[in-house]
Amino acid sequence: MTPPKDSRSSRLSKNNKKKRQDDPFELWLKRGLHQLFDEVAREPVPEELLRLIEDDRKIRE
């Protein structure tokens, strides 16, 4: 006897998500995490690692 799923729960969930996205701490946290980690993601891949992958590619082809 589970109640039928209406749009209310999904509406509530969307509202909660929107509320969280507008939360100042949430904004601050996202910005801080991006400052800490984006730089890391943008760094060039070490040549040695690329060579390892390319060597394996040649062996398999």
Binding site: R31, L36, F37, E39, V40, L49, R60
Partner: protein, 194 residues
């Protein structure tokens, strides 16, 4: 097919590096972890089924390698190492302090929560993808991200562990955002200083 596999490995490397840094909190260890995970993936590429979720498969390999390494050696921590690049480029002294506080607070989180939060925020990963990448239920993935956010907020805005400077900063940010009635996307698109 083989070529496509290698292309996918190269493409995912930046994301693996972020995951590795989230787990190890140490640049050197993170680089080693990525390299080891790539070696494992290359050795196990026959077990990858084309058309399935490569990203989840690769993130899981890195995570398993991290856990396996942890068992072999005592965990080391170098929290100064994590934000080094960001700290070097942050605009102001206040920014650097706030980032350092955030890095230290991240360091205090359990590694599964830290990893979950970073993969969702930095990679924009869905809870479903996170669950698949970390080998847990979707509910567990959601819970890890929620607890990480809640814990960081408690540390950084509420209790005695947070620095006075940071608390003042967060209060100021809250005031500015409340005044502007700011929306999520707008806030993130602004230049760095809060």
């Amino acid at each position: 097919m083989t070529s496509n596999f290698h292309d996918q490995v190269v493409t995912i490397l930046p994301r693996l590096r972020v995951q590795a840094l989230a787990l190890t909190r140490n640049r050197t260890m993170a680089e080693d972890l990525v390299q080891d995970a790539v070696c494992n993936a290359l050795a196990a590429q026959e077990s990858f089924i084309p058309g399935t979720n490569f990203s989840a498969w690769m993130h899981r390999i890195l995570r398993n390698r991290f856990i396996s390494d942890l068992r072999k050696r005592r965990e080391t921590t170098d929290i100064e190492d994590v934000p080094a690049a960001a700290l070097a480029t942050a605009a102001s002294h206040e920014d650097r302090l706030a980032l350092k506080d955030l890095a230290e607070a991240l360091d205090r989180l359990p590694e599964d929560q830290r990893e979950a939060l970073i993969m969702v925020v930095i990679h924009g990963m869905s809870y479903e993808a996170l669950a698949e990448a970390t080998g847990c239920a979707v509910g567990t993935a959601k819970s890890r991200v929620f607890r990480a956010r809640r814990q960081l907020e408690a540390w950084m805005t509420g209790d005695s562990h947070a620095s006075a400077a940071l608390q003042a900063r967060v209060a100021r940010v809250k005031g500015i955002l409340a005044e502007r009635g700011i929306a999520a996307g707008q806030g993130m698109a602004e230049p760095r200083p809060l």
